[in-house]
Amino acid sequence: MIQQQAGALLKVRNLTKRFGDGCPQCLEGLGTGNDAEEGPLHHNYCPICGTVHALRDISLDLWPGEILGIVGESGSGKSTLMRCLYFDQEATEGEFFLDPFDGGKANVLKVSAQARRAIRHTLLGMVYQNPVMGLRMNYSAVANIAEKLIAAGSRNVGTMTARASELLDQVNIPLRRMGESPSRFSGGMQQRVQIAKALSNRPPLLLLDEITTGLDLSVQAKVLDLVRQLQADLGIGMLVVSHDLGVIRMLADRTLVMLNGRVVESGLTDQILEDPQDPYTQDLVHSLL
């Protein structure tokens, strides 16, 4: 389905995440077709051995400056995919290549923990659905951004403060509130601080996990505007996870549809929304209000 191509910013091949050891029945019944009823699995759960197959054989490519959308219902494995790519969770199997790291030759799932941490701090930025995951709520907004700069090796308070102020200004956090902690910010502001933090080391790849969920409509629009503007200005590649097709339609050039830990459909966003092929995608698109 996806060809191995040179020049992709991010290449993921056969990424698998299992919670549990698996048994012969569920391990062999996998990946045989597009039928959700395949094998012994109940959705992504094996009733025989109790293993949860959170990600099954995920492959994807992301090009520099491209926004790739990932849609799917709750529990389909979207967030697990993001966490595996940000090394919050360890993938069970598979390969993950990043072009800026070793020219995209090394499987970064297999490099040392220190190297993974360096990749996480310099090449990746993550925005979590829940700001509590991505921010230290009792440290100031400036310090939250500085944390990522410190992690990447900066030891100069002056330059870090200047960079943090510049970023917070870019995401429209007023200057007078930069010294406050995110615990005193609204949800939308917290999300924008997370974006500023993710951008701090000018990463070529941003991972955005349900960044507008739980925000009211006008704030959603502001955050989405910001994301589009950043892509236009900085040319950052982004992986955008959402269960909201409106968000995907607005942001993503191409889209993957996930169900029960697998990619059931992929293609241009317009094509998927206008002419869905997979029964699940058809359901999803038709249930759009």
């Binding site: 923990a113 500085a146 308070v157």
Partner: protein, 276 residues
């Protein structure tokens, strides 16, 4: 001399276990070695970590000095000396230069230590990353991966809020370029004394069940930033009102009726030595 208890209070098995932890700590400077912290006749948090180190190290030829916040004669120091004295019969001293073993709460003596001395520091909070990470599993991993941005983050936040690195004590240090270590709540003034010190420095946390060490002549560097270098406390040229010494760690005293303030050496045995 007849003892009603075992020599140095502990049974030999306990001493051996603690010494084994000490050897490991010396082999990996700054690394926190877990050990089976014993129940002691004083409460945890009152120096049990230091006391266990002292009791496992003390021999018949040792001379012990115990300091509590710079003072040799405060209750805690006196009680610890009474326990070690009663269970070993060894000599006690107030003079730093005469001691072979020095147990201290939150000070490094003003008199420079020598190769023949061991300094034991009592530690309430051995984990320098604990304020930013509650999980021991995670902090162990952070140490393993030498990921210390959290330690710098606390200092950064201090500078933002107060304009300077405000930690009055326990300012974190990098040991031999590898492990970030809590030096125990010694004032910043004492941090430079840890660097390349000829004496063996052992740190014990009884409640947290950790032992760690700075072996003789180990490089110890206080964490800081390029544009905010580490600084010790500044006493603005004040001197001790009793012995007149400058350039030592001073306590500020205050008379509420007259409003007068004056300074005095914090290290009481050092101060006495210089008295006119």
């Amino acid at each position: 001399m007849n003892h009603t208890t075992h020599f140095a209070f502990f049974d030999e098995g306990s001493k051996r276990e603690i010494r084994r932890a000490i050897l490991k700590a010396v082999a990996i400077p700054g690394y926190q070695v877990p050990f089976a912290s014993r129940e002691m006749p004083i409460a945890r948090g009152w120096g049990t970590g230091g006391l266990q180190l002292t009791l496992s190290l003390v021999g018949l030829n040792d001379t012990l000095k115990v300091i509590d916040q710079g003072a040799d004669d405060s209750v805690n120091a006196v009680s610890i000396k009474a326990l070690v004295g009663a269970s070993t019969g060894i000599a006690m001293t107030d003079q730093t230069s005469q001691a072979t073993l020095i147990q201290s709460r939150h000070r490094i003596p003003e008199v420079p230590l020598t190769e023949n001395q061991i300094l034991v520091l009592q530690v309430p909070m051995p984990e320098p990353l604990r304020p930013i990470e509650a999980s021991e599993q995670v902090t162990k991993r952070l140490h393993a991966e030498k990921e210390y941005s959290g330690a710098y983050l606390s200092l950064f936040e201090d500078i933002l809020r107060y304009g300077t690195m405000a930690a009055g004590a326990d300012h974190p240090v990098m040991v031999e370029g590898r492990y970030v270590m809590a030096p125990s709540p010694i004032p910043r003034f004492d941090n430079p004394k840890l660097d390349k010190n000829p004496a063996l420095i052992l740190l014990g946390a009884g409640r947290e069940k950790k032992i760690y060490a700075v072996p003789p002549y180990t490089q110890v560097k206080s964490l800081d930033f390029e544009d905010h270098p580490f600084r010790v406390e500044d006493f603005g040229g004040a001197h001790c009102s009793l012995c007149g010494t400058q350039g030592v760690f001073l306590d500020e005293l205050y008379d509420p009726t007259t409003g007068r303030t004056w300074h005095q050496c914090n290290d009481t045995s050092f101060c006495g030595r210089n008295a006119p």
